[in-house]
Symmetry: C3
């Protein structure tokens, strides 16, 4: 597979007579792909059943004739206004019980089966018409599932669907009552129709109740997407893709990904640093125009896993966006850096969002490769540069990692349902461990919890893993490398009860979590040899050898040599120290990268990206601010 570039384009926004010139300029910029169609339902079908697809035929022809490969999106994220006449109750309902209104996008409820059939209908129409079109080289389903908090809906459709789902899963309310522990607070049900969605309760609803709803809701995303992929499969051989959004954890991306050929994600480094990442004000100021040095890489590694090796960036931030609290411009060089970092992590394609900034509507302040007046925007020159550079090292791929981090959507839901400490967040926990690995210069794979084989790895991390499934437990039992498990791992049952016997129940590691503490951000628990535990600390009991202790002599890490259980959430410096110490034990190459510098290997090259606003040096190599440098092995 060759490294390629692409762009998102909305022919319906521009006069038809400009399309050919736009296509020509795309090709001149070195772009291979053009994504179209995903918000154009109204133009495709201006009234229910009245199809107008000739403009789309022509757009595909013009783009294809220019030499571009077209990614065609199903337009199901933006149902037209007439859809509400047919399905007046199709819109999502908030946890407060308020139905959202038409007027933006993603207003549909995933549980509304009538709307799901409408999506099947339009997908079939597009698949039949374009499934064999030689210019359509890939398909995108919908757009950014879960964006704008749209996975969970508290509609009557969701309620009814949830009751059916529960009836199928538990078969009897007796079984459900037992599984959920409904004896507590007299919460037993006699019929499935008595069960409400777990919103608007006076105090906490049962965590098992909420977890069931979270699983149900994730399943609806999977089902919604599958309706489209099944239709598309019947009509096309082109790969099927969805463009996931950053730090969306409300549905299981691995499961959605099983129905697709390629995972892609929409990478907005500055927007994400501003609106969805923990960090001190100083950190956010330092990386204001570059983005967090580890956020993109985490998602690259995650989606490589979701795509079973095949992944893209479908939307790359091209300059200031319109939707974050603050919207600065990237430093010159960042478009190139972000693209190359993606390629280093194995991306096949990097698409920019979007070709030309529209002067109108919601995203008019979101920049693009062209300005609203059609003149080149600053990003364009960097895209052109990358297009030339990839021709010199054209093959997509990345190095085989020796380090793995387990990332599990069910665990994200579990700790969202039951944080136990106000600042406990699963993504944040995983990200802090990932940061330590990156600072050590390691290339990381991210794996789902049902991974069955760890043979490739020397070091595996599993922080916050709600349940270690049997297959992973089996793999750990024979694992030859070092595993760092915990904190808060394998301490629950699938039904969100505490495991008895008490977890983590690791093979050959006699250690139980007998008590749990969460502590506020201005408190810490000191370790015997320096460093601290923050946020979360578990009291361990058992005969397992103690590897690290707290200053007052309690276990901070227990270890049987290759399996370690971490009793707490270590601060960043201490996590790095642990990784470094472990790598030395494993005789793995390890380093301590300066703040902002990151490394990723492919099979042929080592890539150095410098997120810092100043030049940095490492091992004699100077990497300019906002720059990327690579060396062949």
């Amino acid at each position: 597979m060759k490294r390629t570039l692409g762009v998102c384009y909305y022919p319906e926004h521009w006069p038809e007579e400009e399309w050919a010139d736009n296509a020509r300029r795309m090709v001149e910029t070195g772009l291979t792909w053009v994504r179209i169609g995903e918000f154009a339902w109204q133009r495709m079908e201006p009234a229910s059943g009245r199809l107008e697809l000739e403009w789309l035929d022509r757009a595909i022809d013009v783009l294809g004739a220019a030499g571009l490969k077209v990614i065609l999106g199903t337009p199901t994220a933006t149902p037209p206004r007439w859809m509400l006449n047919k399905h007046p109750d199709m819109n999502i309902v908030t946890p407060d019980g308020v139905r959202r209104k038409f007027g933006s996008r993603r207003n549909y409820c995933f549980s509304h089966l009538g709307y799901r059939q409408e999506c099947a209908r339009i997908t079939r129409i597009l698949a039949e018409r374009y499934g064999k079109n030689p210019h359509i080289a890939a398909w995108q389903t919908d757009n950014e599932y879960g964006c704008h908090d749209t996975t969970l809906s508290y509609s009557t459709h969701a309620r009814d669907g949830f009751r059916d789902w529960l009836a199928q899963k538990y078969q009897s309310t007796d079984a459900l009552n037992r599984a959920w522990g409904n004896v507590f607070w007299s919460l037993d049900y006699n019929t499935f129709d008595q069960i409400e969605l777990p919103n608007l309760t006076v105090t906490d609803p049962s965590p098992a109740h909420v977890m069931a709803f979270r699983r149900y809701s994730s399943d609806q995303v999977v089902a919604f997407n599958r309706v489209q992929t099944e239709i598309l499969r019947a009509h096309t051989d082109a790969p099927l893709i969805h463009n996931y959004m950053g730090r969306i954890t409300e549905f299981d991306h691995y499961t959605v990904g099983e129905d697709l050929d390629i995972a892609s994600w929409d990478s907005y480094p500055l927007g994400f640093l501003s609106d969805r990442l923990e960090g001190t004000p100083e950190h956010k100021a330092r990386y204001l125009r570059q983005g967090d040095p580890d956020m993109q890489a985490f998602h690259h590694d995650l989606y490589r896993s979701v795509g079973r090796g095949r992944w893209w960036i479908m939307e790359q931030q091209p300059g200031p966006v319109n939707w974050a609290p603050y919207n600065p411009a990237p430093l010159p060089g960042m478009e190139r850096l972000w693209a190359w970092e993606a390629f280093a992590h194995g991306a096949e394609t990097v698409c920019f969002f979007r070709w030309r900034q529209p002067a109108f509507a919601q995203e008019q302040m979101h920049t693009a490769l062209l300005r609203p007046d059609g003149v080149d925007a600053p990003a364009l020159a960097e895209v052109l540069q990358v297009s030339k550079e990839i021709s010199t090292i054209p093959n997509a791929g990345t190095a085989t990692a020796r380090v793995a981090l387990i990332f599990d959507y069910t665990s994200a839901w579990a700790w969202d349902v039951q944080p136990q400490g106000a600042d406990f967040d699963y993504f944040r926990l995983c990200m802090s461990h990932y940061r330590a690995l990156r600072r050590a210069g390691l290339s990381v794979d991210i794996l789902p919890a049902d991974t069955q084989n760890l043979n490739q790895y020397k070091l595996v991390l599993a922080p916050g893993l709600m349940v270690i499934p049997p297959s992973l437990m089996a793999a750990l039992t024979t694992f030859q490398g070092t595993a760092l498990i915990g904190p808060r791992s394998n301490v629950k049952t699938d039904e969100m009860s505490i495991s008895v016997p008490l977890g983590p129940n690791l093979p050959n590691l006699d250690s139980k979590v007998v008590n749990t503490e969460s502590i506020p951000p201005n408190c810490a628990i000191a370790l015997q040899n320096g460093g601290t535990i923050r946020h979360w600390f578990e009291h361990l009991e058992g005969e397992a050898p103690i590897r690290w202790s707290t200053a007052d002599g309690r276990p901070a890490i227990v270890s049987n040599g290759n399996l370690n259980y971490l009793a707490g959430w270590f601060d960043d410096e201490t996590l790095f120290k642990l990784i470094a110490e472990t790598c030395v034990d494993l005789e793995m190459e390890v380093t301590d990268l300066p703040d902002g510098l990151r490394i990723r290997d492919t099979q042929t090259h080592r890539f150095y990206v410098n997120y810092a606003p100043e030049d940095l040096e490492h091992e004699g190599l100077k990497v300019p601010a906002a720059g990327v440098v690579w060396k062949a092995f």
Copy 2:
């Protein structure tokens, strides 16, 4: 009365074959009491009218046979799901007009008379069956009235009840219009049916309107509880108890208490410090694992008053809980300290919550005396130690205090309705005065506003008392000790108007509050001899002698010798200085305890509790960190 210990237990959570062993272990731990039943309505009556109480018979038998005294709770805080079929509109409604849903607890609206009758029915069934049972040695009504913001409900039932209540109170809308000042903003009513609940107005509703609704709402709690106590009284001689929750001020505990024999409260020192107490981050970090040094004592003194001398702790935090923003573990020793502090303040019984941590449901992360796997949790050994220690000084009781603080629920509502300064809170104001008394080493009584006799006291404080009722005014008139009244005391009428003539109208103290200021937390008003006024300052006018002045010469305290009016809310240091100076004048013993050390006397002993994380010394006595020490007089 002997000092005793107890525990909360849920036989319905555990296999019947384990009950006897549990009972045996309770007795071995030195426990006398076991509370059961209060959340088990669904197990008692799995469908409407279908009673299944044999399991409860057996549980009482097993526990009683082991030598335990049983406290039986009415299960009315957790109506089963079938109750909603009978009373679909029984749930509480939020100020935003949203009806809460089933799925947790305390979902009922206090104004729903249909549900109230259901509670009468189940109470009668239990009273008839167990009223003479020799093992049932006490009864608890419901559970934690008002917890989770459940006193106020904006339902149609509340609206209708409120209208009736107003019609009875005012007899005519003319009288109501005059009393509320409805001429202001054209708010007059012509019929009682025009009066809405005071939510969802565009800007402030009339304070008199809101106060009436607060009084009505408190009355419903009283009436709700009274339905149960009247039934129980007819069937049992055992004492009746309710377990109040910390810092709940939405209903009048004194009035509820009049229908009961013993007041009890649920003491969660770490949870309360985290979620419902003002304090700097430094203060909260210092006492993270001990709780605030004065919060528990305040409630002990309050509930001794509510119980007219008889009071218990019904639930004592046994380790980390699940519901506060952060949930650390107590320092070793704190279970013992908390229990002994309660005994020093006159508690008869301290019950721990709960016997065994369930692995399931909402409170699975709330620790207990036993772990989920049935092994002793850390608290158990401390409970056993206390049980041995109380056998050496077995008699319940406390010293006769010479100092009293008035605490009045109506005042809490008044300043909640009309804070006038964003950080003005009645509980906080009283607590700051209480802290100063405690730092001076004084044993304090807390009294209701309708106290008629102050003869026992040398020093009385009444900060923020909305209205001084005639009986208290009479007592003050002949009071021989020193009274510190104000700020913001006796400046209002019962109808929440400003008193004219202007308050405080104290006997022989010519001083009027002619102007009032609230100031933000980063501002202060300096006093002439050091110290500051914070939050609140009243401009006084009159001939009363000035005891303290502001730096610019205005009265800060006026005094006729024994009656003092405080014109402002003094900072903590200055409040202590005032108390100390006053005690010297009164020839009362006074000290200045180090931060964290507190004293309480019984008739036979002085108890020293050390909330600090370091050892402290006082008057040659060393008190270990998290320790308690006592000396006989």
Copy 3:
């Protein structure tokens, strides 16, 4: 016109036998005006159609007989409770879709035509009865339009009115779809009945959609007011006034003002500093008892413009109020300072709110000229002093300003709809520029955006002006002075799209805004010669000469000599430096006033007001803390 004083009075609150004495004391205090009636609808019409106006006849007689001029208010801000029986759906609806309830004031929805007719009816009744009454010397319509967030309502009446308004404006949905860019996200409409109000969408609604609703909502205020002014005009020759509230920008005051004779505003300096002004805690503490030094002046200059030269203060804060987060007392002298500052800016009349503090209802903690017990409050003596002082310099008027600042309500809506940076606010932006002018000692005019003639001015500022209308553009083209335009000026079309060609499109200034950045408060962009840009920075492109640059060499100000475009929001110090530098170029007198001291000229005098809590000196003149001093030219 002579400078006069007045007061707000509520005869309905006080026994009729006290009215004459009150009137006498008003006159003795030097008051000329008394405003009455604006909240008394229920007293005027206690039941629908039952009029009781005799008390009002008598009140007017008593006041008039004492020598006072009466301002009579239409009582439409406080519909009586019976109005809801006639118009059950008349109340305002929140953005969450919740209908507000009766029980305070301003509960009506501006779009409810039934209520609008009721207001016409009561206005006609009052106009017919009092239009020729010799004591009625002015009329006030309603009270504080827009206060308590009451301009925007999401009712079905608003929705229906909005659809009609859109149909009239656009004539066809095709035209609307094109104008709004509805092709984006498939948002096209087929009929006007499909268009909802822009609340409760999943993510941003179209900015053109929201702007249309903002314009529609402002138009309803204008129409609501016009119904009253048309009736009053037919019956009276007395001037018509409305009392606007501070920092209310949701409707266009200029347009409302066109139907009135005099603009007035309600000036609450301490309340506004506490609840509606940006500022560091240190700034707010320094001016706690004086108010912000520029906030009042800004409104004075604004309302002089809204009133086309004629303006009053209708309500002047007389001491602590009841409605701000914190409510301190003013420093002695501030009543006098505030009144004189208003006169210096050209006020004809300053009325105090209110005569006597009522002991009851919502505003009982809001002070007045008399205390609740009828005794003089501290403000009274200062009012008396001012009444004596104005007799020495009696003529109303102010100097002709040489400096103008454009302030435009449409721009306020635009940047509220699309801030692009979380802390970008139009009023704040204008205020920061105004502050710099004031610090330089300049007297400023505030002008609407449709100003046609700038001949009077040497310096004109137009920060954040969404669109420069053709008439202003024409005036700028021939302007001989210096204009400082931007940042974010003339970059949009009227339909809230980006202008293409890119703005600002100033005559003889070749400069385009090609990119835009917003940055968080802890970040800044350094300038070449010191100082910084905060919040907002635009990348300029073009041949225009660069006047100031950023430290890295990008344009910060471009200039063709007299027209300047500011590419960023300069920090306060830098803005002052720019003003000072510009004044020197213009050979205008300029100074650097100490923090808290401000100057305003009339045609005969220069007034110095000292908002600081310490005495200040300027040009050899000492101005006491909280003092005002004037010098004849």
